[in-house]
Every structure is written in C-alpha cells, then in structure tokens.
C-alpha cells in the first residue's frame, strides 16, 4: 500500500476545508493568527505541525466556529463558517480534543457517542445504529455500557474518535492524537485512522506519527503557515525543522523510512 497518494479533489467539488487570510486576536489584544491560508482537499490527510504557542489550537477552534475570525474566512466543504451555519458546520467538522476526559463527559460510552447525533435530532433505532456503527469503526463496540473512566487511556481516545465519527463528519480534526499513548495503543489508533475514508487534519508534535499517517504536512509558526509540502520532504529539511522548534526523535531518519 502506498500512503503517499494524494487524491486530487474532483473538479467542481469544494475542498473539505478552505481557510483564507485568517487572522485572530484574543479580546485582550494578544494576536495569535496573522493570516493563515490553508486548503485541504477531500480525502486528504494533512499534519499540522508547529511549536507550542504557534496558534495551532486557535486555528482548530476556528474550524468549527467556536472562535470567530477577526479577518479572513473559513469554509467547510464550501459552506462558510458563520453564525447561521454553525449547527451544520459543527456536524461536519469533528474535533477530537487532546484529553479524552474532556471529550467524554457523559456517564456511559454509549450516551457519549450518542450526544452529537442526538443534538442533530437523531432518535430511537436510527440513533442506536449510528452509535454502534461508530463504535465498531474504532473497535470499541463491546464497551458501549461502560463508564468512560473505567477504560484505559488508549480506549478512551478511541471512544473520543467514535464520538466524532458518529456525527458523520466531513473532516476529522485531531489534536495531538498520539499524546500519552503507549506504543501498542498508538499503533492501534494509527490503524483506525488509516482505515477511515475521511479528510483528516492532525495537529501534532509527533513527527514520526505525522510521517506514518499524513502524506502532506504544513508548519504553522508564529501565526502563519511557514511551510507546506509532502511530509517526508518537510521532515528531511533540517534547517526548516530547527527554525520552528521541531525535532525528530534521536536516530530517526525520515529518508530511510520512506516507503
């Protein structure tokens, strides 16, 4: 299998995500984004790399309209993110937050996965099917009636992915998906993410994980996109990595792992 296939968006079909000229300053005056341009085509898997404080989280919070742009626009599958489209946008953009405990707030796994689709109006057997399908896709179908805090960290992160999959999103946004996972859980999650036929935007510091999962990478630094290209090329550019406080693990050579 060759993960470095970059499906071109079909002509006439809007890209999953289109951010242009996005700038944002927090109410206290601190400016986090200085004109971000980013287009993610349908079915693409893109890694968003960047040092701490680069504005990654701020950018993510714009994608489903939790923050409103100071300048510029965000479009999700052609739909502009404005107040009127928020319910639709939030269904289409599935954000998996870094700490699964923040995301799994309901008493049981099943209720948690059902939260999103139920807010969208699904009820009864339809809702039930949607929940079990989402849990199946992350291999957690047997845990539906367990309270989230009885699961291991890796299981919780998979359920967090399921809560978002249940909403049948256009694009999956993952914030540090590999953080705090043991190697086995990390591999299992990678397998799940690779099996999904979805647009994925993955915010991470974990460069080998980005290389494994995302053919394309962008570097966000000081509030702008500083680099955009195939992940292996970016990771091979030592000067670029150093300039943006990104580091490969000791002994890891992206050229030799290239498949």
């Amino acid at each position: 299998m060759d993960p470095v296939t970059r499906p071109d968006p079909a002509p006439g079909q809007a890209p999953s995500l289109d951010v242009s000229g996005l700038a944002y300053a927090y109410p206290d005056g601190h400016q986090a984004l200085f004109g971000v341009d980013l287009t993610v085509g349908r079915g693409e898997r893109v890694a968003l790399l960047g040092p701490n404080g680069a504005g990654k989280t701020t950018l993510v919070l714009h994608l489903n309209g939790i923050l409103t742009p100071g300048a510029g626009t965000v479009r999700v599958a052609g739909t502009p993110v404005v107040k009127d489209t928020l319910p639709e946008v939030r269904r289409r953009v599935g954000i998996v937050f870094q700490d699964p405990d923040d995301q799994l707030f309901m008493p049981t796994v099943r209720e948690d996965v059902a939260f999103g689709p139920a807010n969208a109006g699904l009820r009864g057997p339809e809702l039930e099917r949607c929940v079990s399908r989402a849990l199946d896709r992350v291999g957690m179908a047997g845990y539906a009636d367990r309270p989230p805090h009885h699961l291991s960290f890796g299981q919780r992160r998979r359920v967090a992915v399921a809560t978002v999959l249940a909403m049948d999103p256009e694009i999956l946004v993952l914030d540090e998906p590999s953080a705090n996972l043991d190697p086995a859980a990390r591999r299992e999650l990678a397998e799940i993410l690779l099996s999904l036929d979805l647009t994925v935007l993955m915010v991470t510091h974990d460069l080998p994980y980005a290389l494994e999962l995302c053919p394309r990478a962008v570097v966000l630094s000081e509030g702008v996109i500083a680099a955009d290209g195939p992940t292996p090329d970016l990771l091979a550019d030592e000067a670029l990595l150093r300039a943006h406080r990104l580091e490969l693990p000791f002994g890891f050579d992206p050229r030799t792992t290239r498949r």
Binding site: Y26, D28, H30, N52, G53, G55, K56, T58
Partner: protein, 360 residues
C-alpha cells in the same frame, strides 16, 4: 456535620426543605447569569471540586484533622448562586449515594451548609470590600474579606443549625449548651476554614485572577495576557506588596465589619426563634412529654412568645460574646499567618519573584 434523619422534627424539615427548594430555584436562574450557557459543565466541575476538597484533610494537631466545608470558598470563587447550586448537588449526592445526611434532612442540610454559608460569606465579603481601602491592588482587601467571610460563615452555619434545633430539635438539650458547644467548636473550625480558604483564593488570584469572581472589580483585564494555547501569563500586580504595617488598618476595619455583620445575623436568627431565645435566657428545658407528638397538632402552637424582649437581649449578649471570641481568635491567627515568612505571604513573594522574569 451532616444532619441525619430524625434529628429535627417534621415541620422544621419541611420548612427548611421549602427554603432550600426556593434557594435552589433562585440559584438556577442566578447561575445562568454568572456562567451563561456554560453553567452545566462549569458548575458540575466546581461541584466535583468541592466534593474533592471536602476529602482533602488538613491536620489540625496531634492526629486530628479537619476538612473544608467550602461554602465561603465557592462563593468567593464562583459567586453565590453557583455556590449554592454546587453545594446543593454535592449534598444531594452525598445523601443519596453515600448516605451522608438524611434524605428527609436534605433541605436542612442545604439550608444550613449551603444557603447560610453562601449568604453570610457574600454579605461579609462585599460588606468588607466596600469598607476596605482599595489602594494596593486586589490582594490585601480580597484576602482580608475572604478570611472574614470564611471565618464567619462556619459559626453562622452553626448558629443557623442551633436556631433550627431550638424550634425542631427532637432531643431536649438546653439551648444554651447547644449554642455554646456548636459555636465554640465551629469558631475553631472556622479559623481553619478561613486560613485555608484565604490561601486558596490567594493561590488562584496569583495565577488566574480572572477566575476569582468576587474580586472581578479589582482585576483589570489588561493585567492578564491569554496565550494562544489558553495558557495565561500573569503580569505582576501594579502595586508592590503591602508593607507589614499596612494590613493592620484594613484588618481592624474588617474586624469591625465582621462584628457588625455577625451581630446582625445573630439577632436575625434570634428574632426568628423567640422560643429559642427564651430557653437561652432561662436555660430551662421544656419537658419532652409536652411535645412528644409534634406531628399530631401544630408543633409551634406550644411555644408562645413570652418575654421576647428580655430574651432577645440576653441572646444578643451571647452573640456579642461569640463575636468577640471569633474576632480575637481570628485576628490572632490572621496576624500570625501573615507575618510568618512561609505562610500566606508566599503568594506575594512568588509574584514579586516572577516580576523580573516577565519584564518585557
């Protein structure tokens, strides 16, 4: 101290239940004003915090330990409505799941430990902030007001309980003794509560001043720089930390305020329970047989309003004595803690140390 089933008679349980339900209803509306649509998750987390803090034991001496009640703390941090709501939920869950506090006494528990502590803490805190000089930034006035609020809230809760006991106690103990025992013990508990609450609020104020709701009028937004990742960089308070001699004036002003408010509360409860006063005044028990069957006929009918003026006076004196003791003990501890280098001053030194590193 959670009241169990059967400790107070039915009319008092019902009455406090109505009070609690009313307070919760008002708080449900008020909390939406304090937290807008974030009420459910934030109040839930604050309730979990109170629940956890009540498990955080602090050693008192020689193997004994106490824990925070958290009413004043919650009021200062998140506002009175959310505080009442959180305490009510904590008490409900403790009663239902942990069998801590009787189900029929739930209203009593919410009233005594939630509504009274929040209300008293609120009045003392804002009353004091009004009196205290505002120069010198938020730290000193907020610390003084928090200390007084927490200190008074605990005995106030005990006084409220004593008042309820006076009307609806099922055991015949002279009210003077209940009052003395409850208030005496709770003044001590209140000192611990006050020290820890003050230091806790101080710790929050040093890192995220925007989260101390009661101090909002002090924290100017320009002082807080919110980073892109949600991290917050505190910048130093505009004024240097107060010199050791300066807190004395606010302290005494504060003490005065505490005394006034506490006295007001004592007389409030006193006038609400004339029969209780009568008993304090005469230290006379009423034979149990006289009210063995409270449920059958009107329980309050037996307690005529006799010698109220006289009784109110004597309870007022008892209250004043309580105020004096509370004030003296509280001031002593407060001064001791403030002067100790490793005590509450830590927060101050911590920030002034940071000042150099934050310089632009």
């Amino acid at each position: 101290m959670h009241v169990p089933d059967g400790f107070l008679d039915a009319p008092v349980s019902v009455a406090t239940g109505v009070v609690a339900a009313g307070a919760v209803a008002v708080s449900l509306r008020g909390a939406r004003r304090e937290l807008d649509e974030r009420t459910a998750p934030l109040a839930g987390l604050v309730a979990a915090f109170i629940f956890a803090v009540q498990m955080l034991n602090f050693p008192v001496a020689a193997g004994t330990s106490g824990h925070l009640l958290g009413g004043a703390l919650a009021t200062v941090l998140v506002g009175p409505y959310t505080a009442v709501l959180c305490l009510a939920v904590v008490l409900l869950m403790q009663g239902l799941l942990f069998a801590d506090g009787g189900l029929t006494a739930l209203g009593t528990n919410i009233t005594v430990m939630g509504v009274v502590t929040a209300l008293v803490a609120l009045l003392v805190f804002h009353g004091l902030l009004r009196v205290l000089p505002r120069r010198g930034g938020a730290r000193v006035p907020v610390a003084v007001a928090t200390f007084a609020a927490a200190l008074v809230s605990v005995p106030a809760s005990a006084i409220a309980f004593t008042g309820l006991y006076a009307i609806g106690g099922t055991a015949d103990v002279s009210l003077g003794r209940v009052f003395a025992a409850m208030v005496g013990v709770h003044v001590l508990i209140g000192i611990g509560e006050a020290v820890i609450t003050t230091a806790t609020v101080g710790a929050v104020l040093a890192v995220r001043p925007d989260l101390v709701r009661a101090a909002r009028s002090f924290t100017r937004p320009a002082l807080v720089i919110r980073g892109g990742s949600g991290a917050v960089t505190p910048t130093p308070a505009p004024e240097p930390a107060a010199a050791p001699a300066r807190p004395l004036r606010p302290l005494w002003l504060g003490g005065l305020g505490v005394a006034v408010v506490l006295a007001a509360f004592v007389s409030f409860y006193a006038s609400a329970e004339p029969d209780g006063l009568e008993r304090v005044a005469t230290d006379e028990g009423i034979a149990e047989e006289a009210r063995a069957h409270d449920l059958a006929d009107s329980p309050l009918a037996d307690y005529g309003v006799r010698d109220v003026d006289n009784a109110r006076l004597s309870t007022g004196l008892a209250g004043a004595a309580g105020v004096a003791v509370t004030l003296a003990a509280g001031s002593a501890v407060f001064l001791a803690v403030r002067r100790r280098p490793g005590g509450a001053d830590d927060a101050t030194t911590g920030t002034s140390g940071r000042r150099e590193t934050v310089a632009p």
